[in-house]
C-alpha cells in the first residue's frame, strides 16, 4: 500500500477546515444545552446560515458581510425557536425538529437561482513568523479568520463555564430552573440569550460550509452536519475541549477516508464512508466511560419546559 501520496501536514490542516462548521455549531448547542434548552434545529439553522451567507456574498462580493449575515440568518431561525418554546412553552423536541425541516425547505427555496455559482474566496490569514515554522506552520497558522475564531471560541466557552459568574448562572438555570427562578434569575431571558447565541454559531458554521469548505451552494448541503454536532455535544459530556477533539477526529477521519478511497484501497466504500461516524462516537464513548459522576452528567433541566412558579 502506498501512503506517500498523502501529505500529512496538509491533511491535518484541511481536517481543521473540515471540522470547523461542526465545531462552531456544536459549541453553540453546548451553551444552549447548558442552560437547559435542547434545540434539535441545529441542522436547520446551519443550512439557513449557509444560504444567507452565500446569497449576500454573491450579491455584495464581500465574504465578511456574508459571514455576518449567515450568523444573522442563524439568529433569525433561532429566534423562532426561542419564541415558540420559551414564550408559548411548546415542546422543545417537536419545535426543534420543525425548525430543521423549515430551515432545509426554506433554504432550498431561497437558493434556487444560486446553484452552481462560485462565491468570492475568503482569504487565509498567514500569521507572520509562526506560519513559516515547518509542519506546525502549515497545520496551525495558515488558516482563515473563522478557523482562528472557532478555536478562540472554544477557549471562550471554557472560560465562561469555568470561571465567569454569568456562566455559573447559565449552568444554574440548566440544572434547576425552578431554583434559579426562586433566587430571582430570569430563566426565560437567559435561555433566550443562549438560544440566539446557539443560532449565531450554527449559522456561522453553515456559512463556513458554503463559503469556504465546499465552496458553493447545493440543496441540503449540510448533509447531517447539524445532527453530528448535536451528538458531539452529548458524547463530549458538555465540555468544550472534548468537543474540539471530537470535531477534529470527525473531520480527520472524513478526509482520511476520502483520501483512502482515492487511493483505490480494497475496502468497501460504504464501510469507509461510515468510519468517521463510528470512530468519533467510539472515541467519545471511551472518553466519557470513565466519567466522574458529579461533573459530567447532562444538565438536569435539559429539554424541560419552564412554567414559572
Amino acid at each position: 500500500m502506498d501512503f506517500s501520496d498523502i501529505n500529512f501536514s496538509l491533511l491535518i490542516a484541511s481536517l481543521i477546515v473540515a471540522a470547523t462548521p461542526i465545531l462552531l455549531a456544536a459549541l453553540g448547542e453546548l451553551v444552549a444545552e447548558k442552560s437547559g434548552v435542547l434545540n434539535l434545529g441545529v441542522e436547520g439553522m446551519m443550512i439557513f446560515g449557509a444560504i444567507s451567507g452565500f446569497i449576500i456574498t454573491i450579491e455584495t462580493k464581500n465574504p465578511w458581510l456574508g459571514f455576518l449575515c449567515s450568523s444573522i440568518g442563524g439568529i433569525l431561525l433561532a429566534s423562532i425557536f426561542a419564541v415558540v418554546t420559551q414564550i408559548f412553552r411548546a415542546n422543545q423536541v417537536a419545535s426543534g425538529l420543525a425548525l430543521t425541516l423549515f430551515g432545509l425547505g426554506f433554504s432550498a427555496l431561497l437558493g434556487q437561482s444560486y446553484t452552481g455559482l462560485k462565491p468570492v474566496s475568503f482569504p487565509d490569514m498567514h500569521i507572520p513568523i509562526l506560519a513559516d515554522i515547518p509542519v506546525i506552520g502549515i497545520i496551525l497558522f495558515q488558516h482563515d479568520f473563522i478557523v482562528y475564531f472557532s478555536i478562540f471560541a472554544v477557549f471562550l466557552v471554557y472560560y465562561l463555564f469555568r470561571k465567569s459568574h454569568f456562566g455559573l448562572i447559565i449552568k444554574a438555570v440548566g440544572e434547576n430552573h425552578d431554583s434559579a427562578h426562586a433566587l430571582g434569575y430570569n430563566v426565560i431571558l437567559i435561555r433566550f440569550f443562549t438560544i440566539l447565541l446557539g443560532g449565531a454559531l450554527a449559522g456561522l458554521g453553515g456559512g463556513y460550509l458554503s463559503l469556504v469548505r465546499v465552496p458553493q451552494w447545493t440543496e441540503g448541503m449540510t448533509a447531517g452536519a447539524g445532527w453530528i454536532a448535536l451528538a458531539l455535544v452529548v458524547f463530549a459530556s458538555w465540555q468544550p475541549f472534548r468537543l474540539l477533539i471530537g470535531a477534529y477526529i470527525f473531520g480527520g477521519i472524513t478526509l482520511l477516508q476520502l483520501n483512502l478511497q482515492a487511493l483505490g484501497l480494497e475496502i468497501n466504500v460504504a464501510l469507509l464512508s461510515m468510519s468517521p461516524y463510528l470512530v468519533t462516537i467510539g472515541v467519545l464513548v471511551f472518553m466519557s466511560a470513565r466519567r466522574n459522576k458529579n461533573s459530567l452528567e447532562a444538565p438536569k433541566s435539559l429539554g424541560k419546559t419552564f412554567f414559572g412558579l
Binding site: H165, L168, I169, K171, A172, E175, N176, D178, S179, A180, H181, A182, L183, G184, Y185, K293, N294, S295, E297, P299, K300, L309
Partner: protein, 501 residues
C-alpha cells in the same frame, strides 16, 4: 429582650388564582427579634403569603410596610436588598454545583472569591454552621444542604428571615442544632417567620403563632400557652380524635428477609447492605430514618420493582425472591410507595383506572383481557367512601385531587384488597392532621385483622404512635429491631443518626 415593636406589617393582602382564593385579606405583624410561627395545613395559603413577602408573587390587593415604609418588592433580588431573606426547603439548591457556587448564586453583588470565602467562614463559625466549600451539593445530607441555605441567607445581613418547613427533612439531632442557631439569631435582633405544621417544635421555639386556614388568618396566639390539640383543631377547623392502638397478639411469622443487599446503578442511589428482618402477622414494624437513606430502595426490593443483588425473601416459608411485582401482588404482598403522583398513581388517569393498575388481578377486574369497568368503578367508589376521599367522583383525574386526598385513595386502594403483607412508605407525608390520623387508624385496623405491616416514615411521632417494633434505616443499613414502647427520645435520636458518622 427588648420589644421594639413591629418590623413587617402586612395589611389585607389578597391573591386569587383561577381555581382558588389563596390569600383572602391576610394581615400579620412580625415583631423585632422574635421567632414567629405561621401555621396551617397544606393549601392554607402559607406558601403564597411567603412568596408575596419575598417578591416571587405579586398580590392582587393589600399593602405591606417594612419599618413603617411602604414595602412592595419587585422581585426576590429587591426583597433581599431590603433585608428580607428566605430559606427554602425544596427548590433552591443545584445538585451538580459545589457548595461555594451555590452560595455565590444566591448573592447579588459579586465579590472576590477570597473575600467571599473569608465572609462565609466568618459567618459559619459565628453561628456554628460548619460546611466545606468544595463539596458537590448532590452528595450532601439534608442538614448540610440547609446549612448552605442559611449561610447564603445570612451573608446578606437580613433583618427578616423566612423559613419554609425547615425541619421536615432533618434528623432530631439536626433539628436541635438548627434551633440553637435560630435562638442565637433572634437574640441578635433578627426576626424569623417560621412556617411549619409540626406543632411540638413550634411550641418549643416560637412565642407567637398565626394560624391560617383556607387563605384566611383564623387566629393569633401564643403557642406555648395553648395545647397542641387546640392548635391542630384551629388549623383543620374541626375536632378529630387521634388513632387508638389496641393490643394485638403477634401471629405466625409471615415475611422473612435474609441478608438482603442491593447495588444501585444510579450514581446517587443508595446501596442496601445485608438487611435482615422478620415480620409477623398482626405486627407493625416502623422503619425510621431521614429520606434518602435507602427507604425507596427498600420498598422497591420488597414490592419486586428492584431485584436484590444478594439475599433472599421468604413469604410464609415460600421463597419469593425471584417473583416479579404482579406475582407478589397476587400472593397478597401489597405496597404503597412514597411518591403519590407518578409512582403510586398516574396523574393523567382517572381514579378508576388508577385502581385497575394495582388491583386488576387480585380483585379480578378484568376477564379474558377485557376490563370490566362496572366492577372497577364500584371498587373505586367503595375506596372513596371507606376513606372519605374528597373528590368529584371515581372519574376524576388523579392529579385533580389534593395531596392528602390522593394519599387516602392510594392507601385505600391497597387496604381494600385484603393484603397479607402491606408495605407503605411515608403514609402521611404532606397530609393534613385529620386525614393523617384517619390513615393511621386504617393501618392499625388492618393489623388487627392479622396483616403484617411495614411502615417506613420520617415522622418519628407517627412510628411511635402506631408501630410495635422500631428499626432505623441509615445509609442503607438497618438497626436491630427494638420494641417501640421501650424506646425513649434520646435512644431514638441515637438510632436515627447513629451510623451517619
Amino acid at each position: 429582650m427588648s420589644d421594639k415593636g413591629t418590623i413587617l406589617k402586612i395589611k389585607d393582602i389578597s391573591k386569587e388564582y383561577p381555581s382558588v382564593k389563596a390569600n383572602d385579606s391576610v394581615s400579620l405583624d412580625l415583631e423585632y427579634g422574635k421567632i414567629q410561627a405561621l401555621l396551617g395545613e397544606n393549601g392554607a395559603g402559607k406558601s403564597t403569603l411567603v412568596k408575596i413577602i419575598y417578591g416571587l408573587v405579586k398580590p392582587d390587593s393589600g399593602r405591606m410596610y417594612l419599618n413603617d415604609m411602604e414595602y412592595r418588592p419587585k422581585g426576590p433580588q429587591d426583597a433581599r436588598s431590603k433585608g428580607v431573606g428566605m430559606v427554602f426547603q425544596h427548590f433552591s439548591l443545584f445538585d451538580a454545583l459545589s457548595v461555594f457556587e451555590n452560595i455565590v448564586l444566591g448573592l447579588d453583588n459579586i465579590l472576590e472569591k477570597k473575600e467571599l470565602q473569608k465572609q462565609i467562614i466568618d459567618v459559619s463559625s459565628e453561628y456554628g454552621l460548619s460546611i466545606s466549600l468544595d463539596k458537590i451539593v448532590g452528595n450532601l445530607s439534608a442538614g448540610e444542604r440547609q446549612r448552605i441555605e442559611i449561610i447564603r441567607c445570612l451573608l446578606l445581613n437580613p433583618k427578616i428571615m423566612i423559613m419554609d418547613e425547615p425541619t421536615s427533612v432533618l434528623t432530631p439531632g439536626e433539628v436541635s442544632d438548627l434551633f440553637l442557631v435560630l435562638k442565637k439569631l433572634s437574640k441578635s435582633g433578627m426576626s424569623i417567620l417560621y412556617i411549619s405544621h409540626k406543632l411540638e417544635e413550634i411550641r418549643t421555639i416560637c412565642t407567637k403563632a398565626t394560624i391560617m386556614r383556607r387563605g384566611r388568618v383564623v387566629k393569633n396566639c401564643d403557642p406555648q400557652k395553648i395545647s397542641a390539640t387546640k392548635i391542630a383543631e384551629e388549623m383543620v377547623g374541626t375536632s378529630f380524635s387521634s388513632p387508638k392502638k389496641s393490643k394485638i397478639k403477634k401471629g405466625k411469622e409471615c415475611l422473612q428477609i435474609n441478608n438482603l443487599s442491593f447495588q444501585p446503578s444510579d450514581p446517587f442511589g443508595i446501596p442496601i447492605k445485608n438487611l435482615n428482618l422478620k415480620l409477623h402477622h398482626g405486627e407493625i414494624i416502623g422503619i425510621g430514618g431521614v429520606a434518602g437513606n435507602g427507604q425507596e430502595e427498600f420498598l422497591s426490593l420488597l414490592s419486586g420493582e428492584l431485584k436484590p443483588s444478594n439475599g433472599s425473601l421468604f413469604f410464609n416459608d415460600e421463597d419469593i425472591t425471584k417473583l416479579n411485582v404482579v406475582e407478589r401482588r397476587n400472593k397478597g404482598i401489597l405496597s404503597a410507595p412514597e411518591e403519590r403522583l407518578g409512582h403510586a398513581a398516574v396523574p393523567a388517569m382517572s381514579l378508576t383506572e388508577n385502581c385497575l393498575i394495582t388491583a386488576e388481578h387480585r380483585m379480578k377486574l378484568s376477564k379474558r383481557g377485557l376490563i370490566d369497568y362496572t366492577i372497577s368503578k364500584n371498587l373505586s367508589d367503595r375506596i372513596i367512601k371507606k376513606l372519605d376521599v374528597r373528590t368529584g367522583g371515581s372519574d376524576a383525574l388523579a392529579r385533580s385531587l389534593s395531596g392528602g386526598n390522593l394519599q387516602k385513595f392510594v392507601i385505600g386502594r391497597e387496604l381494600i384488597q385484603n393484603p397479607k403483607i402491606f408495605i407503605v412508605n411515608q403514609p402521611t407525608w404532606g397530609v393534613d392532621a385529620a386525614a393523617a390520623s384517619s390513615i393511621r387508624q386504617q393501618i392499625l385496623d388492618l393489623a388487627k385483622e392479622g396483616t403484617g405491616i411495614i411502615v417506613i416514615s420520617q415522622d418519628l411521632d407517627e412510628l411511635l404512635e402506631i408501630s410495635d417494633v422500631f428499626c432505623a434505616l441509615v445509609g442503607g443499613q438497618l438497626s436491630s429491631p427494638e420494641m417501640t414502647n421501650e424506646l425513649n427520645p434520646s435512644r431514638l435520636g441515637m438510632l436515627i443518626s447513629n451510623s451517619i458518622e
